[in-house]
């Protein structure tokens, strides 16, 4: 048999730099799950996975005119570097926005960031050394967990229930950590319309959490991207409204205006704010001037509160569609939370099912979700999944839930045959699981 003449032998790992990467890149590998999400972007698939704000209702024509005007009148400023802390006028407007949640803040204490995601990054950068403990809810926002992982923090999850973070569990966790000599740098919490859990911290608990933070001398990182997107009532009072020295508050225009702007902010005590500005300057020099001026013009010249109200109604319609579909279609033993705002429902599968192992079957059935393990730093959450209702139409949401219910039925059949999955870590946390069935 004829063979091609070969070149001299070589050994290759197809990456010249493989021995030079930092240890923290170790987990940066291709994954089956990430690859499956490639299919979720196709229109044939009902994606209940992504948390993309539904910006279909934005008045793009008038925003276009606003851009033209901005370039004509402030083009030289908009195209130039700006302050590392952010544009002064926008910081004043941000204080007006935060006043809706009871926060009385000075623009000097606001640092504009590239989305609130960068604010999480900057706060972690200035506070955390490798091995420092960050306390998070169980489950917690996947983007924040990624930041904590990048800074090599030790994430400790604390249980939630339908009223949000459980104070007793937080006390226990802090006592255990203190007894073991661990340094807790901050508590990361999403009090309103939690991503992914869909629940909110009840008002009585807000004070209790602040009391615990004071007792144990713990900083609170309050991440509040969805605070203005509550369905049934006016904005809830922020933790920061009642505690200015121990809370760093993070806000964002990604959900109330447009994520493409990439503008968020941190409100921090004076000394912390100084360090955040320095960290911001070494990270990006300054947040983008153009986006900041755009948002400033939008807040000043458009009915942005009216737009937020329209968003709330759009999301409420979709939330209702998802809850109705879950109620009508889900197999017995499946439970879920009932969000009063925001984008997400947290669904717990019947015992023995593993949302991650089930995902290929779901993609085959043309429906996608995010497996619960993405929202834990320790591998738990396999029995849960996050469902987003923010983007698909109500009809598509119902169709997606119908497909998902069929997938769960098939998986139940499989588990009945083979027994529960032994691959996944068994659930050890209490998680929000309001049962509407």
């Amino acid at each position: 048999m004829e063979q091609q003449p070969a070149r001299p032998r070589r050994e290759t790992r197809l990456d010249t730099y493989v021995e030079r990467y930092a240890a923290r890149t170790r987990g940066m590998t291709a994954s089956e799950i990430r690859a499956l999400f490639s299919v979720a972007s196709r229109p044939e698939v009902v994606s209940l996975a992504g948390g993309m704000p539904n910006i279909s209702g934005l008045p793009l024509d008038s925003i276009g005119e606003m851009v033209q005007e901005l370039v004509a009148e402030q083009g030289a400023v908009a195209m130039q570097y700006g302050s590392g802390q952010g544009a002064p006028e926008l910081r004043e407007q941000i204080c007006d926005v935060m006043r809706l949640e009871g926060i009385d803040a000075h623009p000097d204490d606001v640092v504009v960031t590239v989305g609130s995601q960068q604010a999480v990054d900057l706060v972690t950068r200035i506070f955390c050394d490798p091995g420092d403990v960050v306390i998070c809810e169980a489950p917690s926002y996947v983007g924040a967990l990624g930041v904590f992982r990048a800074y090599e923090c030790d994430v400790v999850h604390v249980e939630m229930d339908d009223d949000g973070l459980r104070p007793a569990a937080l006390r226990d966790a802090l006592a255990t950590l203190e007894a073991s000599g661990k340094r807790v740098k901050f508590l990361y919490t999403i009090p309103n319309f939690h991503n992914p859990a869909g629940v909110s911290l009840s008002l009585p608990r807000r004070q209790e959490i602040l009391d615990i933070a004071r007792e144990h001398d713990v900083l609170v990182l309050e991440d509040n991207p969805y605070g203005l997107l509550g369905f049934d009532e006016s904005p809830r009072r922020a933790l920061r409204a009642d505690e200015s020295e121990r809370v760093v508050y993070l806000g964002s225009f990604s959900k109330t205006f447009a994520p493409g702007m990439r503008v968020g902010w941190a409100l921090a005590p004076h000394a912390v704010r100084e360090k955040l500005v320095l960290a911001q300057e070494s990270s990006t020099l300054c947040p983008p001037s153009f986006s900041q001026l755009m948002i400033s013009s939008y807040l000043a010249g458009q009915d942005w509160m009216g737009q937020v109200k329209a968003f709330r109604e759009l999301y409420r319609e979709r939330r209702d569609a998802m809850l109705a579909a879950l109620h009508d279609l889900m197999p017995t033993g499946t439970t879920w939370t009932v969000p009063e705002g925001g984008f997400y429902v947290w669904l717990t599968l019947p015992p023995g099912l593993d949302a991650k192992a089930m995902l290929p079957r779901a993609v085959t059935a043309r429906v996608a979700y995010v497996p619960g393990t993405a929202f834990y730093a320790d591998g738990y959450g396999s029995q849960c999944m996050r469902l987003s209702y923010c983007y698909p139409t109500p009809e598509r949401i119902r169709e997606g839930v119908r497909r998902l219910a069929a997938v769960i039925e098939e998986e139940l059949d499989l588990v009945e045959t083979f027994g529960p999955s032994t691959h996944a870590l068994q659930r050890s946390y209490d998680t929000p699981n309001t049962d509407l069935t």
Partner: protein, 324 residues
């Protein structure tokens, strides 16, 4: 250099690279599509890349390309379905015919065909989920372990990129492996696990008939050659050509070409084998649509042979056009 009826530098006209689709391997397909398109452009071939969706057939009828280069993986892409559509439209395409694709894509069928040609392949059993349900999973899994021994391999009968594939070292891990496998398809191939040197041999089949490229040895840095090890640069060490005695290299080349021929494949294929400690080469599977990403094995073999991927792809295109 591979030979073809036309010089590789010839301009065959517009080549349509199909990549994407709706299979679990969409991401791999998109990456392969980009790489082949770049390779063809480097050989001065006009290329268009497009996804497969409901507008495909009208587009192919309205503006037929000179040749289609399908780079779709998983169902439809490799089971011959898409190739049936291309045949229906009378379009030349790179790769195997539909019937041959169907045979080779089904791992148990392919194993049986090559076994009859005298090639060793690990003992295996193929069963659907329904059978486990009907006759009792515990007893059946026990019987599988008794018959095939441990460790064993559980994998979907149709599919690639090691998706849904598990190595079972102890019986207690069997149920999880079965559940993981059936998430990707209704049939499971349970196979005796052969330990040894993992190798792959690519075959190019242009005008002068099939010829093997140098074998590539696969050495995962940690664990096994799973999805992550396949598509994360740096996770696997590849040795090209593999460190083999000339006689073994010759044997593997013959094995790969024989598999290609008995399965009735065309243009290109890639056969995965394991050579055990006694020097026996065990056939695992033949890929109808070998991977073409930055970390895939056929491009490594092309490079090891001293060939240029763009020239090879252009030759394959010209061969497909000449076949019409």
């Amino acid at each position: 250099m591979p030979q073809s009826g036309k010089k590789s530098g010839a301009h065959p006209g517009r080549v349509l690279v199909l990549a994407g689709g709706l299979s679990h391997e969409r991401d791999v397909s998109l990456r392969a599509g980009r790489r082949v398109a770049d390779a063809l452009r480097s050989a001065h071939v006009e290329v268009e890349v497009r996804d497969v969706d409901s507008s495909l057939v009208p587009a192919l009828r309205d503006d037929p390309p000179a040749c289609v280069f399908p780079l779709l993986y998983g169902e439809a892409g490799e089971d011959g379905t898409l190739r049936e559509v291309l045949d229906l439209l009378g379009l030349p395409y790179v790769g195997s015919r539909p019937a041959a694709s169907r045979l080779a894509f089904d791992k148990p069928v392919a194993k049986e065909i090559v076994r009859r040609a005298g090639i060793a392949t690990p003992d295996s059993v193929t069963l659907p989920h329904e059978t486990f349900k009907e006759v009792g999973a515990t007893a059946l899994m026990g019987a599988l372990v008794d018959r095939l021994g441990l460790p064993l391999v559980v994998k979907p009968t149709r599919g690639g990129s090691a998706l849904g594939c598990s190595v079972v070292d102890q019986a207690a891990d069997m149920p999880g492996a079965m559940v993981g496998c059936f998430a990707y398809g209704p049939f499971a191939l349970v196979e005796r696990c052969v330990r040894g040197t993992e190798l792959t041999i690519s075959v190019l089949d242009t005008t002068d008939g099939p010829r093997a490229l140098p074998a590539v040895e696969i050495r995962p840095v940690e664990g096994r050659y799973d999805y992550s090890a396949r598509y994360t640069a740096g996770s696997t060490e590849f040795v090209t050509p593999a460190e083999l005695d000339d006689a073994v290299a010759e044997q593997l080349a013959t094995l790969a070409v024989t598999a290609h021929e008995v399965l009735g494949l065309s243009d290109l294929s890639r056969t995965d084998v394991i050579v055990d400690d006694e020097g026996v080469a065990w056939f695992l599977e033949t890929n109808v649509a070998p991977g073409m990403t930055e970390t895939s094995l056929l491009p490594l073999a092309v490079e090891a042979a001293g060939l240029d991927l763009g020239e090879v792809c252009a030759d394959l295109v010209n061969t497909a056009i000449d076949r019409r």
